[in-house]
Amino acid sequence: MKINYRQLSIMVFMSFIALKFLALPSLLYVESKNMSMLVALALMLIDGIYVFVLLDLMKKSGEKNIYEFMKSCLGTVITKLVLILLILKYALVAGNISKGLEFFVVENLYTEFNWFVFVLPLMILVGFMVYKGIRNIARVGEMVCWAIVIGLIYIALKALSGIDILSFLPFFKDGFKPLVDSAWIHLSWFGSATFMFMLFGFVDFRSEKKTEMIKYIIFAILIVQLLYFVFYGLFEVTCPTHNYCISDISQFSSTYSAIDELSWLVVSMWIVAQAVQLGLYGYCMAQAIKYLFDIKGNILSIIIVVVYLLAWSFIGENTIRMEEIFFTPFASIVTFLAQYILPVVLQIAYTIKNRKKKGGEKVKEVDYEREKNRDKEEVKVNI
């Protein structure tokens, strides 16, 4: 069951915006102050470049999944180690989304709340989505994507009038160092393209439109920048005291008196987006576990993922700063290795392997351009 290029682009788009509107903006402000937007912009641009590095690797892998591809380039032992690294990365992201969703729901939607009752349906949903596979997650993403985008733009534009542009001045008051420090500390909130590793062999490139992915990445960056601009412009130096960018911009909270009638719809869509993202990272984690332990079937790996997320729900006190404990330098290292080093290593390993085999057997590469032309008239509606 493969997904098409448009669905992949939408998943990249959703992954790019997924974690950005929870606690990240206020956490970034602690070090990088009014220049926090730049940190997000730089890291998202780097993530964008890595999307294309990974796309190139995906095409080179042809029909091979990530495990087969890495095994052919790096050997079995290193592949297993890399899979552990990827599982860690996915576990961090899935855990963060799950925890973020919990805090968000607790803080904004309910006055009395028993998370245990609420986490069970979420886990059933995640288990179901992971079981149904990547095509299912991609299609759900396709369905909800534009509702989320419209919602985000709505709350950003609504709050735009209250912004004090002068609060962004002066630029680079403390130089570049705080920005670099901030980028490193909060690196694990980025690395949004790592999910693509688990999609090796599951993407049909015949429907590829060259500019589609670029459009979605630029769009994601612009939306994040717009929301950050509004957030920092609205709250200025009080940013670190604000917990959730998305609910605070819309001044939405059913537990407080400041209520906007339409914002709850937007906030609701954001919960949907988080649920889909949890499904995506749950799927990636389950796949990586499957490859690592060579598990036949999906059930066992899904159970592991669900149990992990359930356990994570009960770890730690219910405080918004949980993310600060969660995202230690360890998490930054994991992200750095998984997102920024691994694709480069794979590119090099692939090139060396191909050079060694010069004149001999080459790693089979699919010529998607040729395939595309051949199947010009054939339309795959089942993707």
Binding site: P121, F128, I137, V381
Partner: protein, 480 residues
């Protein structure tokens, strides 16, 4: 083997347990004894007299030395559909299907002649798809008549009718209709395979076949399309679908089926595109309201009442004051009342209808509100949801179940639960493919070209290509 007409006739009667409606007539045709067997209720008596009996009696040509069966087939019954049978069982099967059997003494074949009396009600506008503009013809219970209604619209050599017989006892005629060059062969073969493998005593209506045709038998969602109108059927076949017509049923099944089909209406194709786009959007909003409104109302009332604007909240609080039931029980009570009224209303004789409406709307609704048992907003919410169901009547039964689940989830988990429920339903439907066609196409997967006839509709001349959402052989081909 030579036939003894009288003896064979007795043999057939015995085999059919001397059925009271089986009639026989013995006629002397020159020096040959002929026995005619037919079932009176299903045989056209006038046709029998005019095309067989009178010509037999008045036949004046010399037949000496000629084969009587050949004379009958080629001269007497030249205008009729004649079949010759070598074995008795096939002849009996045809007799049961409405044929008249002609047993000629000392002949080696039995003649079967189609003299079936077609009793059909007049072609009328089907109650399930009433249109303001466009054709008003609807299918009837006669397969032959229904095929005639299609043939009237299709004059192409590409149109194919494959006849099957399903049902051990009823031996019901089933016609599989499609355009040979458009329908996807894999889909067609799978449908034929499934139909041919059906082992059932009787097929009394086309819906008897639905369970055999749907892939996910336990699913709540509709997987086989249906229509009562020939113009809709032909339109669907032109897009690559296959139609299944069952003798005795005015409802024709169509496959593959996608959810969007129920959002479309035949009226849409005879109206202004802008109006159609507006109406389809309304239908979509109607579906969301129908399924989610009561659940969301309970969630807001129980968990998130602060979300509501103050004036609105005060109105609701004033209305719900003094109601002895919790919002959940209150809504559940009204929903059940609504469902009971609906069931009673559609099954009771028409002359009771007016009285029923008065009892339902005035006595039960009004009195319950006045007595302080239920609140006016709750009645309004359920009524609104109930009405919006019938914007898409084809999905009403599924939606009523989903609404009930939505109410339970809204009462136990609030908005968060309802959102997860929505994602779950979407996720379930996204994986729900019907005969090579994605159930939620052209939205998921998104198919750009098919947006011309999805939630929005463009003019007919802009819809140049066949839809890609439905598996067919000519997806990229320009419609001729």
């Amino acid at each position: 083997m030579k036939i003894d007409a009288v003896k064979t006739s007795e043999q057939i009667k015995k085999k059919l347990h001397d059925s009271g409606d089986l009639k026989s007539r013995n006629v002397q045709f020159f020096d040959t004894q002929i026995c005619i067997l037919y079932f009176a209720p299903i045989t056209d008596n006038e046709l029998l007299n005019n095309t067989l009996l009178y010509p037999l009696i008045n036949f004046s040509d010399e037949i000496k030395g000629k084969d009587v069966v050949e004379v009958l087939r080629d001269k007497v019954l030249a205008n009729q559909e004649v079949t010759l049978f070598s074995d008795l069982q096939s002849a009996i099967d045809k007799l049961l299907a409405g044929n008249t059997l002609i047993l000629v003494d000392k002949a080696d074949k039995i003649i079967g002649c189609d003299m079936e009396k077609i009793t059909v009600r007049a072609v009328a506008e089907p109650p399930t798809s009433v249109v303001i503009k466009g054709p008003r013809e609807g299918f009837t219970e006669s397969l032959k008549f229904n095929l005639a209604l299609i043939r009237k619209r299709v004059k192409s050599d590409d149109f194919v009718v494959k006849m099957l017989e399903i049902g051990e006892m009823t031996k019901t005629q089933v016609a599989v209709v499609y355009f040979d060059s458009i329908a996807d062969k894999k889909v067609l073969n799978e449908i034929l395979k499934r139909l041919q493998s059906i082992k059932i005593d009787g097929v009394l209506d086309s819906h008897f076949l639905v369970a055999y045709l749907q892939r996910n038998k336990k699913s709540l969602f509709k997987q086989v399309g249906d229509t009562e109108k020939p113009d809709i059927l032909v339109g669907k076949m032109l897009e690559g679908r296959v139609g299944i017509i069952v003798d005795g049923s005015p409802i024709v099944l169509t496959l593959p089926f996608i959810l969007l089909e129920d959002l479309q209406n035949s009226d849409d194709y005879y109206s202004q595109p802008i109006r159609v786009t507006f109406v389809r959007t309304l239908r979509l909003v109607g579906v969301i309201l129908a399924v989610l409104l009561p659940g969301v109302y309970i969630a807001l009332e129980l968990y998130h009442y602060k979300i509501l604007p103050t004036e609105f909240l005060i109105t609701i609080m004033n209305s719900t004051q003094g109601i002895p039931f919790s919002p959940f029980i209150e809504i559940l009570f009204i929903i059940l009342l609504f469902e009971i009224l609906y069931e009673a209303n559609i099954r009771m004789p028409q002359y009771f209808g007016m009285a029923m409406s008065i009892v339902g709307a005035l006595i039960l609704g009004e009195t319950a509100v006045n007595a302080g048992l239920v609140s006016p907003p709750a009645v309004m919410i359920v009524a609104l949801s109930g009405i919006t169901f019938y914007i898409i009547p084809g999905q009403a039964s599924q939606f009523s179940i989903l609404r009930l689940i939505g109410v339970i989830i809204g009462a136990s988990l609030g908005i968060y639960g309802i959102l997860l429920f929505c994602v779950f339903i979407l996720s379930y439907l996204c994986n729900f493919d019907s005969y090579k066609s994605a159930y939620l196409a052209p939205t998921a997967p998104y198919i750009q070209d098919d947006q011309k006839d999805s939630y929005m509709r463009k003019t007919i001349d802009e819809m140049k290509k066949r839809p890609k959402s439905i598996a067919n052989n000519k997806q990229n081909e320009i419609r001729r």
